[in-house]
Symmetry: D2
Subunit: 306 residues, 4 copies
C-alpha cells in the first residue's frame, strides 16, 4: 500500500525503511529535508517531499498519514496537514508517545472535518527496524483496516505483533501502561543489581550473572539481554551517570492510577526514584535533619561536607 510518514527521526526513519523493505510506497517528510533525502536515497520506494503540500499532492485520496514526531508538536503537525489540503476520508495515525486524552481530543476535532484519526503505541526502539515493532492501535475499524497491510509489515512476530485494541485513545493508553510496566521492570533490575554490587564480600561479577539469568531463569527478558550486553562492554558502567530522565508516559501512568483509584506502588516508585536521582541537596533531607537536630541533638552532617 501507500503511506506517508511525517518525521524521519530515529523511529520514523526506521519505520519508513521497514515499510519500504516490505514493498510499500512511503511518501516521506521531515522538517529537515536533507535527512529525508538521505533516507530516501536508501530505498526507491521512499519518496522524499520537501513540504506537506507536496506530501498531500503526492498521494491519492484517501490518504494514510503516519506522524512520528515529538508529542509537543503533534498538534502543530496536524494543523499544518489540514492547511496542506487533507481531505474528508483521509486518515492520520499518531504513532508517537502522546497522552491518550490528547488523542481523544484530536479525533473529536478531526471528525468535524470528516478526517479519521488513529492512535498507535509503538514499542521496539531502535531494534524495530530489524525485529519489527509491537504496535497497539486505537480507532475505528474502518480506519484501521485501511492500514492493516502496513501494520503487518511493521509488526514483529511475523506480522502478528500488532493489535487493534479499542477505540481512539486506547492505543496510546495501552502503550502508556506498557511504559509504566517498563519503568517498574527496569527499576526492579536496577535495585537487584545494586544490591549485588553492594555485597562486596562476594565480589560478584554483574556481567556473568546477567548472562546466566538470560536463559532458563524466571527473569529472562529483553531488558535483561540489553543489560548483559551493556555490562559486557563496560563492566562498571563507569561511563554512565546515575541521573535518570523520563519521557512522560510513566507520569501519565501514575496520574491515571490516581484517577482510577488503582494502587500502583511499583510503577510509582520506579518513577519517583527517577525524580530522586535528579535531586541535589534535597530540601526534604534538610527538613528531616532539622527535626533530628531539634529533638535529639543528633549530630547532623553540615552542608557541603561530602
Amino acid at each position: 500500500m501507500q503511506l506517508a510518514m511525517v518525521g524521519m527521526g530515529r523511529m520514523g526513519g526506521n519505520m519508513a525503511r521497514r515499510l519500504a523493505l516490505g514493498g510499500h510506497r512511503v511518501v516521506a517528510f521531515d522538517v529537515d529535508f536533507e535527512t529525508t533525502k538521505a533516507i530516501a536515497a536508501e530505498h526507491h520506494e521512499i519518496h522524499p517531499v520537501a513540504d506537506l503540500a507536496a506530501l498531500v499532492a503526492a498521494m491519492p485520496a484517501p490518504r494514510a498519514i503516519w506522524i512520528m514526531v515529538p508529542h509537543q508538536v503533534v498538534d502543530a503537525t496536524i494543523a499544518a496537514l489540514l492547511d496542506a489540503g487533507l481531505e474528508s476520508g483521509d486518515l492520520i495515525i499518531d504513532g508517537g508517545n502522546s497522552n491518550y486524552r490528547e488523542g481523544q481530543h484530536r479525533a473529536c476535532k478531526l471528525a468535524e472535518s470528516d478526517i479519521h484519526f488513529a492512535d498507535c503505541g509503538t514499542s521496539g526502539g531502535i531494534w524495530g527496524l530489524k525485529n519489527g515493532y509491537s504496535l497497539m492501535i486505537g480507532g475505528k475499524s474502518e480506519a484501521i483496516e485501511l492500514i492493516a497491510p502496513a501494520l503487518t509489515t511493521l509488526a514483529a512476530n511475523d506480522g502478528k505483533g500488532w493489535a487493534h485494541v479499542g477505540p481512539v485513545g486506547s492505543g496510546h493508553f495501552v502503550k502508556m501502561v506498557h511504559n509504566g510496566i517498563e519503568y517498574g521492570m527496569m527499576q526492579a533490575f536496577a535495585e537487584g543489581f545494586e544490591l549485588m554490587q553492594a555485597k562486596s564480600e562476594f565480589a560478584l561479577d554483574m556481567h556473568q550473572i546477567a548472562r546466566v539469568w538470560q536463559k532458563g531463569s524466571v527473569v529472562s527478558s529483553w531488558l535483561l539481554d540489553l543489560t548483559a550486553d551493556a555490562l559486557e562492554q563496560d563492566k562498571g558502567l563507569s561511563s554512565l551517570s546515575d541521573y535518570m530522565d523520563d519521557s512522560g508516559e510513566g507520569r501519565w501512568t501514575v496520574n491515571e492510577s490516581v484517577d482510577l483509584g488503582v494502587p500502583t506502588p511499583v510503577l510509582t516508585l520506579a518513577l519517583q526514584m527517577r525524580f530522586r536521582s535528579r535531586q541535589q541537596d534535597a530540601y526534604s533531607g534538610k527538613i528531616v535533619n532539622a527535626m533530628r537536630a531539634g529533638f535529639g541533638g543528633h549530630a547532623i552532617k553540615p552542608a557541603g561536607k561530602a
Copy 2:
C-alpha cells in the same frame, strides 16, 4: 559422571531426569520410596535407593550429593547424610532455596569433617526439565569442578546457563536477589494489567494485549509469555484468587537491603503488596478511620458493610 539426588519433588525429580537424559548416573532418594521408584522406572540411569545409607554405599568416594528439599529440612538432611557415612572429600550441594547465611554456616560446620559444600541457586521451575535451568553456584573451585559436567547438563542455553559466582553463600545470595527482582517484575505487570482492566471505557482484551507485547516490545519476557498463556486459558482469571503467597526469598532480599543500606522500594513494595493481599479487616485501616472520624466527622463505613 555420577551424582546423588536427594529429594524427588517437582524440582529434584526433573533434575534427576535431565541428568539421566544427559548420560549421568543418578543415585536417587526421596523420603517416599514409591516416588523414587516411579521416577527411576523412567530411566535406567536413575538408581533408586530406599535410605541414605544405601545412597552412600552405592557411590564411590568422593561423592557428589545434590539435595533438593524444602529449606526447613536441609539441616536434618545433612545430619542424616553424615550419619549415613559421608566421608572426607565428599561434596554436598544444596540446590534449594535456602537463606545464603545458613549455607555459609553449613559450609563452616561441614569443613570440620572435611566435607565440601556448595550452594546452588536454581531457577527455571517446572520448565527446567525441557529448557534447562539457570544455575548460580557458590563454593570452592575444586568442589565445583567436580560437578561441572552435571551443571553443564542441567543448564539452559546449551550448557552455558550456569556460573560459579563466588564463595559459599554467593549462589543462594544471587538466587535470592533473582527472586527479589522476579517479585518486582511480577508486581509491575500486575499493576499494569490491573490499570488496564480498570479502564472500563476501553473494554480492553488482556489476552490480546499480552500477546501483542510478547515480541518486539520492551517488556517482552518469560513472565509475560506465561501471562499471555494463562489469559488464553482463562480470560478473566476467574479461577484464581488474589491472595498472594510468598516463599521467603523476597523477605530475605528486603532484609538484605536493610542490612546493606541499599534502597529497594520496588522489590519491597512487591513483597508488601503480597502481605496486603492476605489481610482481611486490616487494623491499619481501622486506625486511619478512627482518626478521620475523630477530626472530621467523616462518615466512615461501619464494619461488616460490604
Copy 3:
C-alpha cells in the same frame, strides 16, 4: 465586620457560629433554609437568608462572601452569586477543599467582572468551633485585608493561626499539601499500630500505648490524641471497617508531585493504601498468581476459598 457564609454544613455552620461569637455579623445561607434558620436561632448575629438575592441585598458593598460548599458545586455557587447581583469590588472567598488550579481559573474569570477572589485552606475539622481553625489564604493583599478581622476571629492560636501565604491558588495549594502530609502521618501511625497489634506474643494494649506516647514522645501530635481517644472508646476498633475513603486532596498532591518531578513516596503510598483497602478480588493478585502457577507449579489458592 460583616460577612456572608454560604453553606451551613459541618464546617460552614461552625464557622458562622465562631464568627458570631467573635462579634461579627454573619449573613447565612444554605440550600436547606431550615438548617440556616436553626443555626441562626443560636446567635442573634447570624442573619438567615432564604436565597442568594436576599443575601446580596442584605449586605452593603463591598461584600465579603465566604463559600463553604462541596468542591463540586463551587462553580455553580459562584454563578448563582453573580446572577444574584454581586458587584464590582465584592470579594468571594472559597474556603472549601477546591483544587488550587480551579481557584486560579475562577479568579481569572471573576476579575473580568472586577470581583475579587481569595482561596482559603481551612483545617481544624469539627474542633475548629472551639479551638479555632488553621487558615492559609491566597489572594491579593487588598482583598485579604478586607477580611482580616474575620480571619483573626476564626483562627486558632489566639487569632494568630492564619496566614496570607501568597497569590490566588496558594491557599488551596498549601492546604492540599497539608492534607497530603496528613495522609502520610495517618498511614505511619496506622502501620505502627498494626505492627504492634500483630505482635501477639506481647499482647500489647493499644490504648495504653497511645496514651503513653501523647506527652513527651517524638510522635506526640493531635492525630495521636484522636487515636488515643478512639481507642479508649472502642479498644478493638471493632465498630470500624478497614475501608479507607479519600476526599481528593491526597490525589491532587500526588499529581502535583508528578508535575513538579518531586519524589513523594510516603504521601503517595499513604494514598495508594487507601485505594488498596477498597479492592476486593484484586486483578493484580490474580495476575501474579497466574504467573506463579505458570512457572513454578506453585499451589495457588483457588478463588472463593477464604
Copy 4:
C-alpha cells in the same frame, strides 16, 4: 528511692538530673569520670562513682541499675556489672535503644543468676529533662514495681507518661515501632515541605506555613513545632546537608514487618529514602540508563556531567 545510672551522655545525664530534682538518690557512673563529677556537682543527690565496683558497693540490695549506653556496649556493661558484684534480686534496666530480641536474650541469661531485667524505651530526646520522658517498659511486674517511683519522676504528663507495656522485650519493641512511626512522620513532613519549596511560582514562606499549621490544623505535632523553630533560625536550612543518617530502630521495624508479614510501605519508604540520601553515583541509576541506551538510543547524561 535510690537508683544507679550508668552512662552520663545526653540522655543518661539528663535523666540523672531529673531524678535528683525529683528527690531520688542517684549513684552515677560514666566511663569518663570527669563527666560524672561535673554532673554530680549540680545536685547533692547525685553521687559520682569512679567504677562499677564502687557503684555496687554504694547501694544496698536489691539494687536498681539503669543503663543508658550505646546499644553496642550494653552486653559489655552488663558483664562488667556482674563482675562488679551484682547479686541475686538486683534489677538492670536497659533504657537505651537496644533491639528487643537482645533484651529477651539478656533477660534469659540474667535469670540464671536470679537478676531481674527490664527494657525501657525512652522517648523525649534532649527535651526530656524539662518536659519529662515518654517511657514504655517491659518486664515482670515485681521488678517494675520496684522502680515505679523513679519512672513517675522521669515521666512526662505529670508522672503519667510511663507504662508497663508487657513482658521483657515489649518495652524496646514498642519504642522501636514508635521510632518507625517517627521516621514516617518526618518523611511525610519532608515531602510536603519539599513540594511547597518546589512550587516556585507561589514563592511560599516555609516558616510562615509551619507556624500557621502549629495550632488548630490536623498536622499539629511536636515534630512540626521543631520544624517551625528550625525554619525561624535558618529559613533556607542552608546550614544543613540532605544526608540523612539513621540509628537502627527504623531498620528493625522494617525487619519486623517482614517477619510478621505486615505491610508497612510508609515506614519502609521513610527508611529507604534515608538510604538513598547517602548514595552518590548510584549503581541502580546506571543500570537503568544502560537499558535506556540499549533499547531506545535515549541520550543519557554521561558520568561526571553535573
